[in-house]
Each structure stands twice: as structure tokens, then as C-alpha cells.
Symmetry: C2
Amino acid sequence: MTNWHALIREQIAKERSAAVELLQEWVREPSVQGEERSIQEKIAARLHAMGMDVDMWVMEGEELLRHPYFVSPRTDFSASPNVVGVWKGTGGGRSLILNGHVDVVPAGDPAQWTHDPFSGEIVDGKLYGRGSTDMKGGNLSSLLAIQVLKALGVRLKGDVIFQSVVEEESGGAGTLATILRGYKADAALIPEPTNMKIFPKQQGSMWFRLQVKGRSAHGGTRYEGVSAIEKSMQVVYAIAKLEKERNERITDPLYAKLPIPIPINIGVIEGGKWPSSVADLVKLEGRMGVAPGEQMEDAKREMAEALADLAKQDPWFAEHPVELEWFGARWVPGDVGEDHPLMEILQQQFLQVKGERAVVEASPWGTDGGLLTALADTPAIIVGPGTTAIAHYPNESVELDAVFQCAEIFALTMMEWCGVEEA
Amino acid sequence: MTNWHALIREQIAKERSAAVELLQEWVREPSVQGEERSIQEKIAARLHAMGMDVDMWVMEGEELLRHPYFVSPRTDFSASPNVVGVWKGTGGGRSLILNGHVDVVPAGDPAQWTHDPFSGEIVDGKLYGRGSTDMKGGNLSSLLAIQVLKALGVRLKGDVIFQSVVEEESGGAGTLATILRGYKADAALIPEPTNMKIFPKQQGSMWFRLQVKGRSAHGGTRYEGVSAIEKSMQVVYAIAKLEKERNERITDPLYAKLPIPIPINIGVIEGGKWPSSVADLVKLEGRMGVAPGEQMEDAKREMAEALADLAKQDPWFAEHPVELEWFGARWVPGDVGEDHPLMEILQQQFLQVKGERAVVEASPWGTDGGLLTALADTPAIIVGPGTTAIAHYPNESVELDAVFQCAEIFALTMMEWCGVEEA
């Protein structure tokens, strides 16, 4: 009997050096929002060279732009094509989507980086650069898994659909467009940076903006006014209370290790214009976590109720209610049962490759997996190299060994999940 | 015996129509910071025509710019001359400064004004426009008082020094420059808008900026960070506590009617950059009231101590102390004894003109009077037409009757204070 695991490991070792160069090439592409065409064309060409059916298109049209799950600060994606490559199976097997995004968040202040943010420098086994962890490293794991199986002459029964999408960092319009284009599968893997923890459940999230009102006055007679800054402190407290109540309801053991499973974060505060005037308006912006399985509309209603309740403790809020607006990014929560067959296969292969049991948790942030699960009937599981702790920060990096271990686990998982046509 | 009061009232009535036109002309000059030359040249010409010794100059030089009380966002005043006119007395009397500023705060959004902010429209006995109350109306009272006495052939024994200064709204560099140029007197009147209350004491004030630190993290794992927004709530609370302690010490009956005699106002809050990130920095800007007779350095020290005390309740602040900076505007507190002879004279003339006793209080805001009292040995009393409630706001206006009553009171007060050389 063929020892596929040994062959896969050996093949990865052979391809490692070229694969590292490929990842460097990807990281050197500054594929921030609106700048994804160059890397996508390279990926499309590569998938084509690997013998896959390649679909590269610019998403557009009313069906997308008016879709209730469409979220993006823009409507013109001409510089940001989506790419999908299909490795057609021989038939009779389960299909698998390997989804990953190529858009990266801005590099921020280059002075805070030790190396150039788009250098792809390698130091002590880590490859540095914006997007290395989030999530070009993971994308390489997926691509390499396919490449290795093809090199070894493996013929899968089920289809493998490699998706290189845009717009994940802005709420998932790229993956939404693949769904509207008809792509779906029996399951999906998304190698977002989980530090190789397996996340069958993902927290959703959405952004809110609050306007807290006051009444202006001269600072020397501040008692003649009402400070929107003081009132906003009551609002921050009310939101902390809501966060506590919502989290006390979370009993899922997958969340046991998280101090606050579904946080509500107030990230921006801005109000008042003059040191010696009483502020008449404070704007707060934040992110509300949504539990796996929770309807986003229910979470929105709870927020609106918590703000309305402020009127009970302070008549000011009865006459000047806090204005609530949902804006900007939104990620649908995802929820795949822990007993899902892909979960079982994934954990077996993890154990085989790493020699230890995988940690199974629920993710504290949203991914495109929520859309795949909710809209495409494609249960999505999140597992990949890299850690979120350094995503979006200066000196983002990914550990190369983890990238190749993930490729090994993915290749074995694909064989088990999709099935292999014997020669 | 001549009934001077009747003569003065009669003369004011004669000059009223021309004086209203003059006030309109002044209000039509948009003398915001950096745009004061035009009105100052007109005032200088008028003082000259009235037979006064006129001194118009552009303040400059190291003595001014390096003076510990110099505060201004600019150092070039070439578009903003100061004007002083001296009516020399016959000798042997007490001298008097009539100080007022011509700089006005910006008009703000014109859409919030019923009339053009620089129209000088008159409706129902009120003259509308930016600067009408603060304080061109009061300046007219001073000028008219001199004009009327001169018209009546009154010869005062003491000098009268009419000061039309710039930069009051930015902290008093204009009045500071008159002091450095050598102008001083036995007392001063400043017709800021007190609604004709007499303020022998004035609250000083100064601006502060605080930087409250946090540690960034992704909003989905906000417990890995430290929210500068939450920390800033502790800072706001600590400042409220300091305000309470400072005000409990104020026992002066002149402050009895003010709910908070020397408020600390936090007017601006700004922090965080992204709804789904934990804010790592919040900036707070505010105004600290300084009690009459209090040293500004003592008030600064109390603020620094209150912020340092935060470390006792929360170790975060021990490692990340709140940064305190004093910036921008500053007004020195003023403190003239209620038994000062000018107080007595002023109240007598008020009673004579208005038929009721004047209200004596302490001002909730600073004026240039603090500088005159502290640096020029010139006790300054604040009393004038108009109300601060509408100063700095849209539809600022001044009641014309109050302007002319103030002129009447000032003319009588000048005769009593400076003394009259009998013909």
C-alpha cells in the first residue's frame, strides 16, 4: 500500500524552495484594496499552468451591489478581479472549496517596520511583510496542497475549487461574488491565520456609529450646558453592560478559553471642537461581535434596546436619544457542527502530521466562511498558519514551517474528503 | 449747581443716532484674528478727531514674545495694530483706563444666523452681528462717555486712557503689549458683556491637553488590549473630582450664585482610528478655571497631582501616566477688593442712572483685567452691556439702551474718579 503521507512530505520538501520564492513574490505585491489586479493575474496564470480551469472576472452588477450581504466602501472593482481555479474531479467524490483572500490592509507607518512592509524578507524561518500572515501564507498552503497532489499523479474524485478573492478585509464582497457566480461545494477550508487551531465556528461582527448629544455652553459656565462627553460615558457604560449580558448567554465550550467570546469594542471617539466650550456632540464608532448561530438582526435589536433603556436612568436621553447607525464592514457568523465529517478528517490528518491533537475553538473574528455557510450551503472551517496577533500590525510575519505543515495537512485532507480514483 | 447727570443724559440722546451708526460701522468690520487693521485705523482716526493723543502700533519684539504671560497662536501682528488714545487730565486727579478688545471670534456657520453675521441689522432695539455683544457695544459705551464729557466742556483732572486692543480672544497679548509699552493707571474699567453686573473679581482660566494611553488590539479580542477610551473615562472622573474639591474651597459670597464657581471643562475628546481596533490613544482638551487670587502655577500643580493620583487606583496609569500639557489661551484671574474706591463710585452712579442697586458678582470667565491688575498695578473692574450667553454664538446681539446707559454711568464715574477742574 502506497504511503501517501511520506510521498506528500517528500514532494513538499522538493518544492519548498520554489514555494518560498512564490510566497515572497506574492508578499512583494502590495495588494491593498484597489491594487489586487497584478497579484490576481499572476495567480490566474499559475493556476492555468497547473492545468486548472481558470475563471477571472471583475465583479459588478445590481444582483451583487443590491445584495443584502453586500458591504464595501466602493462599487467599482475593475482593478480588483476575483480568481477561481477548478480542479475537476473524476466524479463521485465530495467537492471542496479552498478559499483565501489576497487583499491586505495598509502597511501603516513604514518607520514602524524593521524591513520594508513589502519586502518578503526571511529571518529565522519567518517571512516578513504585510499580508504574510493574513493570509498569503495560508493561500500558499492551499495552492501547494493541490500542486503536490497533481505532481504525485493523484486523481481526486471530487472537485477542488481554489478561490483567490478580493475584499475580505472590507466585509466579503469578493466571496459573495463567487457565490452569486454559482460556486459552491460540499465543504470549504479557509486558511486564515488561526495558528493551526481549528475553528468550526466563527464570530460574526458588524460596525456601528453612535451620535451622543449634548448642549453647548461656555466652559466657564459649563453648568448651563450639557456635556456630550459626560453623556457618552453613560453610553459606554450601557454598552459594557450589554456586552456582559450577551456574553453570559454564551455557554458553548468552544468559547471556554475566551475571556469575552463576543466582544463589543468601541474603537473611535470624537467630540467637541473647542477646549472652553461644552461639547454638544460626541461620535462613537465600534464593532459588535455576533455569536455563531445568532441572527444579525437580533443583535442589532439588542443594541437599539440597550440605548433606548438609557432614557429610563436619565431623562436627557428621552429627549435626546442616542442615534444608532450600522455602517461599513460586516461579517456573517459561521457555524459548522463539531461532528461534521470534514472536522473529523481534518483532526485525523492534523494528528498524523503534527503528532498531537488539534486545538478546536471558536474564532473571535469573522471570515468569509460565514457567507459560504449561510448563502452557499457550504460549511466552512477555518484553519491556517500564522497568528492574528500580528496581522494588521507592523512587522507582520509568517512561520514558513507552519505554512508547509498546513499544506501537508490540506493535501491529506483533500484525499480523504474528495476521495481518490485508483489508477 | 450744574446738574451734570441731566446734561450728560441729554447729550447722549443728541448723539445717539450717530453713535448707533458708528456701532453698525464697527460691527460691519469682520475683525477676526488677523483682520483688525481696518477697524483699528478707523478708531485711531476718530480718537484723533476727538482731540486725543493717539498711539497706534504693531506689537512685536522679544520682550513681548518671551514674556511669561504672552499667549497667542501667532507671533506676527502686522495686520493687527493696537490703538491707545489718551485724554490728558489737568493734573491732580486719578487716572483711568477704559480697555476693550476689537477682535471677535469667527462667525461660524452663516446658515445659523438670521441676518448676515456682519450686517449690524437692528431689530426691536437690538443690534445684531458678531462682536456686537463681545464687545464692540461696550467699546462704544467707553468712547461715547469721553465724547459726551468733551462735548460738555468737562475738564477732568486725571488722565483717561482709551485702549482698543487686539488678541483678547486668544489670551490677552494686545493688553500685555499696552502694559509693556508703559500704559498704566490708578484703575481700569472693561465693558465686557456682564449684563451690567459689576465684577470686581474675575475667574482666570487656562487650557490643557491630556494624552491618555492604551494598547491596541483587534476588537474581536479586545481583552488582549487596553482601551484608551475606557481609561479616559477614569481620567474624566478624576478631573470631575478635582473640580469638586477646588470648588468646595471657594467661600467668597460673590460666587454664591454660581453652581460651579471655577469649573473645569473638558471640551474636546478624540481617540482611536478604527471601529474594530482597541484605541491606543485618546486626546482630551479642556479649560481649567482659576480662582481670583489663586496662582496659576498652584492650579497647574493640582491638576498634575490629580492625574498622578490615578496611578494609586490603577497600576496601568503608573506605567502609562497621562501626559499633561498647558497650551493655547490663558487668562490671568483678577481680584479687586469690593471696598475699592472705584467700586463705591461705580455703584453710586449705577444707582443714580438705573434707579436700582447694581448686582456685584465674580465673573465666571477671564478678561484682560487680570493682566492689568497683576502686571500693571491697575485694578480692573468689569462691567458692560450685553450678555455672555449669546457671545460666540449665532445671532449675537446687543441691546442698544444698555449701551447708552453704560455710557451714562461711565461718564458720571469718570467725573467722580478723575475729578473735575472747575472752570
